[in-house]
Subunit: 220 residues, 2 copies
DNA sequence: GTCTATAAACAGATAGAC
DNA sequence: GTCTATCTGTTTATAGAC
């Protein structure tokens, strides 16, 4: 009888990854001790060495988990595996839809706040973790957004201008999560729930449309 | 004869703060040991306890140092102590100028890359350090930008819409620093120097103008 | 004030019992 | 596979010499 349910090998692995994601996201890699991670996962310290070879192996496993999670959210939103939109208007709608989906995921996502915190911690400094996340998520999503941008504005997808512009569009959204504490204080919000996320998404989309409009006007 | 020059009390304090800023920025608070900080500052471990009461005291001192540094850059750029601009066009120029100054400071600033890294590390989680930086820098600068926004677009400075919009304008710029490694890879740049910073600043300013334009059109 | 020696706690890795 | 005991190194804080 194969026991692939709650207990067993995979359950321990997953529990360790989720606990590590949470604690590394909250306290940083050095601040999250293997003992606390094991405790949170209700596993023993030795299991980290057994399953991942050590603390660094667990970190890499977290990165791969993040790639899968983000792919499952950003992939469909950006239409990674769908056909290209046929018109400029359609491409614009797809861009706006992506931005709104990402805002909601970022600022009010109950699914994976730990995933986000982990990424924000690990994204700054180069290393194996960044390599995994860049190749698995950042590059494919960014490239796709550049294609959509080309269809929406007529600017070449791989031009320097387009690539930078897409970074700024992502940035305005990501910062809402990074600066979360500042946003909450300045907006005088108790926290950021679905209602607040909707307001943030509305402004972000409006900005995207404004920039598209200005670029369309530049070379009509 | 008062010796306020290179050696003495203040020199040790400053050296410790700069070293802590650098190492905490690079490895996080937990990842930066007091030993390495003291070594980098060419001071002894005991001096941290003597001058700052302990590692936490040094962290707070870093935050205060950051506030002073950022004020000296962002303050003049945003015109914190100057009179309000007289026209919408003037306010728009001031906003664009601020964005360009901040981009240059962020992505190519040779003065204080350590300051930036420290802020990005500490900004996520609430605590005494965030309190110091929010009250000292974030709030005053954000409020000033909201005022400029009102003058440039006619939208009320303290409306929810304006406050959020200003966050998105800051965000597109700040992300260029946070996602630095991703930007470098995707742009295929060896690093981000003055030339690259100019390109980034140009796009960011163009975005700001586009959003202003769209808001002006909304309520003419 | 500056520096050194040391204490007490904690880190990650590992060997071996079950 | 899971868990415990232990090893080795490192952490912050501190007491005391100079």
């Amino acid at each position: 009888m194969n026991d692939t349910r709650e207990t067993g090998r995979d359950a321990t692995r997953t529990a360790l990854i989720l606990a590590a994601l949470d604690l590394i996201g909250r306290h940083g890699f050095d601040g999250a001790s293997t003992r606390r991670i094991a405790d949170a996962a209700k596993a023993n310290i030795g299991s980290i060495a057994y399953h991942f070879g050590g603390k660094d192996g667990l970190r890499a496993a977290c990165a791969r988990f993040v790639v899968e999670t983000v792919k499952s959210v950003a992939g469909p939103a950006v239409g990674l595996s769908e056909a290209k939109p046929q018109s400029a208007a359609e491409a614009e709608e797809r861009l706006v839809h992506t931005v709104e989906t990402v805002v909601r995921f970022l600022v009010a996502g109950s699914v994976a706040p730990r995933v986000i915190q982990f990424v924000l911690r690990e994204i700054s400094h180069p290393g194996p973790v960044l390599d995994i996340m860049y190749a698995g998520v950042f590059e494919p999503v960014h490239k796709r957004l550049c294609q959509l941008w080309e269809q929406a504005t007529g600017e070449p997808a791989e031009s320097e201008e387009t690539r930078i512009t897409v970074f700024t569009l992502i940035g305005q959204v990501v910062y809402l999560r990074i600066g979360r504490e500042a946003v909450i204080r300045r907006m005088d919000w108790p926290s950021v729930g679905p209602e607040e996320a909707a307001k943030l998404a509305a402004i972000a989309s409006s900005n995207v449309r404004a920039v598209i409009r200005s670029r369309q006007g530049a070379k009509p």
